[in-house]
């Protein structure tokens, strides 16, 4: 099939960007979206033009590198699917596809479709961990964890840190990302002693990074390739509120 692509091109962080039109011809429905872009890039290279930069790595939906806004939808039309696992059978011959980077104040564009998501790493640095220096652990089976707790923790821990939640949010909030980690660790017995401090510090860092506030639009859970529930945000708010009320020290 043949497609018309409108792709955001931006030479660098401070350069102006614009949409550029490319024709993608002979696209097979079995191709993944990124393979379609590979073919476009091969063509550009052969013509001596600079190929389109985009982040990608594992191409199996787990590393969280890929990050494309496709027709205004983070990761495109297929629910619960990262861009790399989206296949061209989701489109039809003659379609026009708009491809843009994640748009958020906190995510600076590096080039074309690649953005800087290091603010998400700094949110984890603020408290997204359980303090357990290597060597200090007791026997694994001494800690009992109810199956339901670990299943719910795993649902939240499935977050791949892609930032689609931020891109989808009208406020560019990183609440779903932050809440997923707070939920994962807060549901486990190992995570209790740092639970409230963790919530406080991670939420504070989220604000420092200039992410917007959550107003419960719910766009994030629609866009999340791992279908993480917005319920995690309720839990984050509860833990944060309690930490604030109790005067938990950061």
């Amino acid at each position: 099939m043949n497609l018309t692509l409108h792709v955001w091109r931006q030479a660098g962080p401070d350069a102006p960007g614009k949409m550029v039109i490319y024709e993608a011809t002979g696209v097979s429905p079995e191709m993944s979206f990124l393979e379609m872009l590979d073919v476009v890039n091969e063509g550009l290279t052969e013509r001596g033009e600079v190929p389109i930069a985009f982040d990608h790595d594992c191409r199996e939906g787990i590393c969280g590198s890929c990050s494309l806004m496709i027709n205004g939808v983070a990761h495109g039309p297929m629910r619960g699917t990262a861009t790399c696992q989206l296949h061209m059978r989701s489109f039809k011959d003659g379609d026009t596809i708009y491809i843009e980077p994640w748009r958020a104040r906190a995510f600076r564009v590096i080039k074309d479709l690649a953005v800087d998501r290091s603010p998400l790493d700094r949110i984890i640095q603020a408290g997204g961990f359980i303090t357990a220096p290597t060597g200090s652990a007791q026997d694994a089976n001494n800690i009992l964890v109810a199956k339901e707790s670990v299943d719910d923790a795993m649902d939240a821990a499935a977050c791949i840190g892609c930032g689609a939640c931020v891109a989808a949010c009208p406020n560019a909030s990183a609440s779903l990302f932050t809440a997923a980690k707070i939920t994962h660790l807060g549901l486990l017995p190992q995570g209790q002693s740092e639970r409230y401090r963790r919530a406080l510090k991670m939420v504070q860092q989220m604000e420092l990074e200039e992410f917007g506030s959550c107003t419960l639009h719910g766009e994030c859970q629609e866009a999340c390739p791992k279908e993480i529930s917005i319920d995690t945000i309720t839990r984050m708010n509860r833990d944060f509120l309690r930490a604030s009320l109790l005067g938990t020290r950061p």
Binding site: E42, L44, G48, D57, K111, Q125, T131, A137, K147, I160
Partner: protein, 639 residues
């Protein structure tokens, strides 16, 4: 042989070696640790865990990764699980059994002492990961759950749905981020190591390129740890991530680190078959699927019926037939070769004929759909997304694909290479898996190296060698910097006609054809003429648009492919010299009457450690003899 390969295996009985060694190693006092800087290249399980742990101990760590965040290293894609000799199932497991299975599974081409230590540490890894909050699967009572995995008859694999690698990596990543915040680790994301700096025989730092600005910088260190993963992408199509590359270890090889057993590459039996020329990667379906899925092909050639319409009598469950005691759980090398064999006979399924069925109908009938969904739901979803077929209804189609490289830089018991101070961990080294890796053992090795081994042995190196002060004005740094800058300019100056990917694809085809699942002398010789030709054309005719002062993904890829074009040749040289079959290395000339791999222990019970001899010169073979004192050498049988 010009290298003196000292494995430095401690004396004494096997179970006491590591303990004894830990006592005998010199320590760096707590106050002095912060005076040492360790560069770690790679932030996966081996590199992330090592960086976090060394920082906890007090060392200054600089950690580099080419991805935009350390959380994206390819360890994240491991699905099935991690082995540990906990014997929580009371099914007869022990440290010794895990050791035994791993030595045997590796077809007697690994070092006993290293493997035993790995098995010992496996139990600490699970403890550590649980303490960090890794959400391993649990039983209703709250205890840890287990499953069995290929090549083992006990249930010793711990797992977090089909995302075990992700959860273990996030555990290490979170520990790493904690140390970054504490100031012990300086993280360099989107930065790629392009050379190793060796001064007076000691690794003293690296040259790295900032992939965003293009700046090429020198980083001084007292010791260097390469945890940069494997080189499966030499085959172009593999289950590796797009960015996975051999550049760090290949640059180190050219600076004097011996490369061990480069031809030992694992072909994983359960991947989604290839479907088109434009394809960029192959997707693995976890081996754990073989616990409940049954592998079969039609008995008759060219049977094109819908698999559901093929009656039992017309199906050949060939793994169950050939290996009755292990059945569908036969080790990877054996299962892969068996799949190739039935496809070569013309009984393969799917459009290309390069596929076999992995059928869950019986398991769904026995256990119910919900149990299967609980165990493999995310894998089934992934399969459906890629193939547009529902595996609950239609059997999956799978075919072997390149997945892991057992070969890597040679290391001694302390995980130090033949260059003093250059340590190598995880998939980047050669040490523990011999000629074939068992399922759920890669995560175990990466974490054993990263959390427990390197943080101890690095102290011994620093305390005994006491590296002298150097800085980036040293001639060795200046030369290496100039070399990297010159090479970068050279890439951009070629301005040829072909894309980097087209060379990579062509190299992959050569490797898969002649150095893939089975190898023979004639084929390897063909590869050894084709590879240098392709390499020469690459340096003449590659086209890399853009500049070196910006994010330039084609330039990054060109550097990696240029190194693959050299490494591929070494792999073929190694495969050609090893005229025996062992594990994943199947030489057609060396097989048993029923077509199994036939080892030649009299001539090949050694590690082949290749030494770089200079541009255009054949590499030099060094041998480390392997001695088996505990597991007697025997023909591997899974019948």
């Amino acid at each position: 042989m010009t290298l003196n390969l000292q494995a430095r295996i401690p004396t004494g009985p096997l179970p006491q070696k590591w303990d004894k060694h830990r006592f005998e190693m010199k320590l760096v006092s707590p106050a002095n640790k912060r005076k040492y800087t360790v560069v770690v290249v790679g932030s996966g399980l081996a590199g992330g865990a090592a960086s976090a742990t060394m920082s906890e101990l007090g060392y200054n760590v600089k950690c580099f990764c080419f991805q935009d965040s350390p959380r994206r290293a390819h360890s994240i894609a491991a699905q099935g699980g991690i082995n540990a000799a906990k014997n929580y199932r009371n099914d007869g497991d022990s440290v010794y059994r895990l050791f035994y299975d791993t030595v045997k599974g590796g077809d007697f081409r690994s070092r006993e002492a290293n493997v035993y230590r790995l098995a010992e540490l496996s139990v600490n890894i699970i403890d550590q990961c649980v303490a960090q909050g890794v959400p391993f699967a649990r039983e209703y009572g709250g205890l840890l759950a287990n499953r069995s995995f290929g090549g083992a008859q006990v249930s010793r694999t711990f797992y977090a749905r089909g995302q075990t690698g992700q959860q273990l990596l996030l555990g290490a990543y979170q520990a790493l981020e904690r140390q970054i915040a504490a100031g012990g680790v300086k993280m360099y994301p989107r930065t790629e190591m392009l050379d190793l700096v060796v001064i007076d025989g000691q690794a003293r730092g690296i040259i790295a390129r900032d992939l965003v600005t293009g700046a090429i910088e020198a980083h001084v260190a007292d010791a260097v740890v390469l945890a940069s993963g494997g080189y499966g992408n030499v085959f172009f199509l593999s289950t590796n991530a797009q960015g996975s590359n051999a550049t760090a270890i290949w640059r180190a090889y050219k600076r004097g680190a011996a490369f061990a057993n480069p031809c030992f590459t694992q072909i994983h039996p359960t991947c989604i078959p290839v479907h088109g020329e434009y394809q960029s990667k192959l997707t693995l379906m976890s081996e754990s699927l073989r616990n409940d899925g049954r592998v079969w092909v039609p008995k008759q050639k060219g049977d094109k019926r819908d698999p559901r319409q093929i009656p039992e009598a017309d199906r050949d469950y060939y793994l169950e037939r050939k290996y009755p005691s292990f059945g569908n759980l036969a080790p990877r090398d054996i299962a892969s070769r068996a799949a190739k064999e039935v496809c070569d006979e013309g009984r393969g399924v799917g459009e290309t004929g390069f596929g076999v069925y992995l059928d869950f109908a019986d398991a769904i009938k026995r256990l119910g759909k919900s149990v299967i969904e609980d165990r493999y739901g995310n894998l089934f979803d992934m399969y459906e997304r890629i193939t547009n077929e529902n595996p609950y209804e239609v059997p999956m189609r799978i075919y072997p694909a390149v997945h892991y490289t057992m070969g890597g830089l040679w290391v001694d018991y302390n995980l130090m290479s033949t260059v003093n101070g250059l340590h190598v961990t995880g998939e980047a080294n050669f040490s523990d898996h011999g000629a074939n890796r068992l399922g759920a053992s890669a995560l175990m090795q990466g974490l054993a190296d990263g959390y427990f081994i390197i943080p101890s042995t690095i102290g011994d190196y620093l305390a005994t060698r006491k590296p002298a002060k150097v800085d980036t004005t040293h001639a060795a740094f200046r030369d290496a910097l100039a070399g990297v800058a010159e090479r970068t300019k050279r890439f951009l100056a070629i301005e040829g006609k072909r894309t980097v990917a087209s060379f990579h694809r062509e190299l992959g085809k050569i490797m898969w054809e002649y150095c893939g699942m089975s190898r023979n002398e004639a084929g390897l010789k063909i590869a050894l003429t084709k590879i240098p030709e392709l390499r020469a054309e690459f340096w003449r005719n590659v086209n890399i648009p853009g500049s070196d002062a910006e994010l330039n993904q084609a330039l990054e890829k060109a550097g990696r492919v240029a190194d693959f074009l050299e490494l591929a040749e070494l792999m073929c040289i190694d495969a050609l010299h090893r005229t025996e079959s062992c594990g994943a290395h199947f030489r057609e000339e060396s097989q048993t009457p029923d077509g199994e791999a036939l080892r030649d222990d009299d001539h090949f019970a050694y590690v082949a450690a290749w030494e770089y001899a200079g541009e255009g010169k054949p590499p030099i073979l060094n041998r480390e003899p392997l001695v088996f004192e505990n597991v007697p050498l025997s023909q591997r049988s899974y019948k």
